[in-house]
């Protein structure tokens, strides 16, 4: 007991010494630790697994290529269970016990919103790769939180482009069926900002709890509401259930699903092809996206993980680790302020084109519009994702 306390003390002082001597330049051969907060248990564990695999793959690629200026990268995962309480304690563990240099996370918007003040106080850079609630970057950069960045499209851009796309297709009456979370409710809240101008009307609003399995009552009500389409900002695991129950309630093939919820995943389409055909989704990325870097990523991901098809969170976290590595390299330091400056000025060549950050630390990156046609996702366009903070 005494001994371990003593060794902890020496380690702490040695570290303090290192930090004192090393900032802002690199310490000798120090490993760069990147904490990864994501849900690894609970209903959203699937997302966390994808995020972790994507990030690990990127770290491996960076290390195989000689690291960042000779420093290898290590990913330290922490489980958020997709709840703010668990996410906050996971983040605290990463900061206080694992003493990570940077944090990537979370996938769930509610968790990311809770993490932001924490990393701000600790002075650690948080680079989000998957949360879409607009508030996250409304409150970052010139909006307040200096150390928070987001490399993912926001629901505001998504909501606006989906509403516009639906209106173009003549889908004017939408029935909302979204998940009851900051993501699901946030997306609808921002949808309402754009419905008036597009001449689109929301005829009903329903929110479901995570883990719900029976949607027939609400789908029956939607069938009788005269809606043209179902507007859904949902979770990937519930999309197949809703789609199959749409067949049961006689909605399949009549009302398309529009919004976001991994409509394009092969397993989802296979579970209910009749309901998924015609579905319209705005997605950050999808495996079918054709560009040299993107196809190469899919190939190396599938080679690394027994042929598993990556989803957009695997891609997002892979890309974000590479982006962070470039920022550290350009800053030539792991010092938070230096990396913040590097990220603010970065122009990162991603497989989807160059990515930069606006003054709210929100990535300016494209959003893909896709439609499910004969059981296959088809990219029908892409929208430049710039947020107008003024209105």
């Amino acid at each position: 007991m005494k001994k371990s306390a003593f060794s902890a003390l020496t380690r702490c002082s040695a570290l303090a010494l290192c930090v004192g001597l090393a900032t802002p330049a690199f310490a000798q051969q120090e490993v760069i630790k990147i904490g990864l907060v994501s849900p690894n248990s609970g209903a959203n564990a699937r997302y966390g697994a994808f995020a972790q695999r994507g990030a690990e793959l990127a770290a491996k690629e960076i290390n195989d290529a000689g690291g960042i200026d000779g420093h290898s990268v290590e990913i330290i995962p922490a489980d958020s269970v997709c709840t703010p309480v668990e996410g906050v304690s996971a983040t605290q563990r990463l900061i206080n016990q694992d003493e990570v240099d940077f944090i990537i996370g979370d996938i769930c918007s509610s968790v990311t919103l809770a993490m932001q003040p924490l990393v701000e106080d600790a002075g650690i850079v948080l680079l989000n790769a998957a949360s879409s609630n607009p508030e996250i970057t409304y409150k970052a950069g010139v909006g307040g939180y200096k150390y928070s960045f987001r490399n993912y499209p926001t629901d505001e851009v998504r909501a606006a482009s989906i509403v516009e796309y639906a209106a173009d297709k003549g889908l004017k009456k939408l029935a909302v069926l979204s998940v009851d979370s900051d993501y699901g409710r946030g997306a609808i809240q921002f949808t309402k900002k754009y419905t008036g101008a597009a001449g689109v009307e929301l005829v009903s609003e329903d929110y479901y709890k995570e883990g719900e399995v029976d949607y027939r009552a609400v789908l029956t009500t939607i069938r009788k509401s005269g809606a043209d389409a179902i507007l859904m900002y949902g979770l990937a695991d519930t999309t197949p259930i809703i789609a199959r129950q749409m067949i049961e309630t006689g909605l399949a093939g009549k009302l398309p699903l529009i919004g976001n919820g991994e409509f394009s995943a092969a397993a989802t389409i296979q579970a209910a092809p009749k309901a998924m055909n015609g579905a319209i989704e705005a997605a950050a990325w999808l495996p079918a996206y054709e560009s040299e870097g993107s196809t190469a990523f899919v190939a190396s991901y599938e080679a690394a993980y027994d042929g598993e098809e990556p989803n957009n969170h695997a891609y997002g976290h892979w890309e974000t680790v590479h982006m962070l590595a470039q920022a550290i390299d350009e800053a030539d330091s792991t010092d938070a302020d230096a990396v913040v400056a590097a990220l603010e000025g970065i122009s990162f060549e991603s497989p989807m084109g160059a990515i930069t950050f606006d003054d709210h630390h929100q990535a300016i990156r494209p959003l893909l519009m896709l439609e499910i046609v004969d059981g296959e996702p088809v990219v029908t366009g892409s929208v430049a994702g710039e947020v107008d903070y003024a209105n």
């Binding site: 479901y208 027939r216 197949p240 259930i241 067949i247």
Partner: protein, 289 residues
């Protein structure tokens, strides 16, 4: 009115699923005087067996039902010999600990083998049948039909076959059975395998409409089954059927009128009320089988 009929139909189909699971649990209680806390896990095993048969072997759905039930029966036989057999005449707390242990082992073995993520069951007959404006999936009609067949079969078995009569005898008096030469162990194992196979059968039947398949899916089934077998009178087959229908329809109404989030509370409220006022169930506890 249509809404009401649709709710009742939905309730009956849910009740049928519960009934098939619960009747197995109540029969096992009859011969062993033990609550099988791992019962939902056999429901999960059956579903996984069917899912695996479809996704890995590519067999059609009806064949997957047979495979799922057969695999579960085989696993149940092994667990019956290793664990359940020892519960004959054992203290009640022994069976609680043993079956909870089995539940943890089965759940985590499946997660270890297939991973913790959700799988999707994409087979079955989910096209709707419309009666006027009331729609119901073919699969749900199938579940109701098969439930009636299962109960008719069980009634016939316990009244006309040797093993069925032996099951009734063991549930009434284990010692007297041993005296007259009924092999109690065989009867217990047979009941256990039959009861768990029914849970597996119910699991595969429900999979097409519940869609997601995952390791811990059995937990909620165990907890739904408890109030049903208590309401039905522990060990009472007909009582279980009626109790399952009551719970299914009540849940359907609550989901439709008050919202989905209150549905699962129906079972627990029922359990508390039953334990307060009629701990022997709605029907006499003496009318076993």
């Amino acid at each position: 009115m249509e809404f009401l009929i649709e709710q009742i139909l939905n309730g009956i189909s849910t009740g049928s699923v519960y009934a098939i699971v619960a009747v197995g649990m109540t029969m096992i209680f009859g011969v062993l005087r033990a609550i099988n806390f791992a019962h939902g896990e056999y429901y999960m095993l059956g579903t996984f067996g069917g899912w695996y048969a479809i996704s890995a072997l590519g067999v059609p759905y009806p064949v997957a039902i047979v495979i799922g039930v057969a695999v579960t029966a085989a696993i149940a036989f092994v667990i019956g010999r290793l664990v359940m057999e020892r519960m004959i005449g054992a203290a009640p707390e022994a069976s609680v600990v043993a079956t909870l242990g089995v539940s943890l082992v089965l759940q985590n073995s499946v997660i270890l083998a297939f991973g913790g993520s959700y799988k999707f069951f994409s087979e079955g007959y989910i096209e709707p049948v419309f009666f006027g404006d009331i729609g119901i999936a073919q699969q749900r009609l199938l579940i109701i039909g098969l439930c009636i067949l299962v109960f008719a079969g069980l009634e016939w078995m316990v009244s006309h076959t040797r093993i069925g009569k032996a099951m009734r005898a063991v549930s009434q008096n284990t010692e007297a059975c041993a005296v007259v030469g009924i092999d109690v162990r065989t009867v217990v194992i047979a009941t256990f395998v039959l009861g768990t196979s029914l849970a597996a059968f119910s699991g595969i039947l429900t999979a097409p409409v519940n869609v997601s398949v995952y390791g811990s899916m059995g937990e909620i089934i165990t907890f739904k089954t408890l109030p049903i077998i208590v309401m039905g009178g522990l060990g009472n087959v007909r009582g279980t059927f009626i109790a399952a229908m009551i719970l299914g329809i009540a849940e359907s109404f609550v989901a439709g009128q008050f919202g989905l989030q209150y549905r699962d509370s129906v079972g627990f409220v029922t359990l508390i009320l039953m334990l307060l006022w009629r701990p022997h169930g709605l029907f006499s506890s003496h009318a076993r089988f």
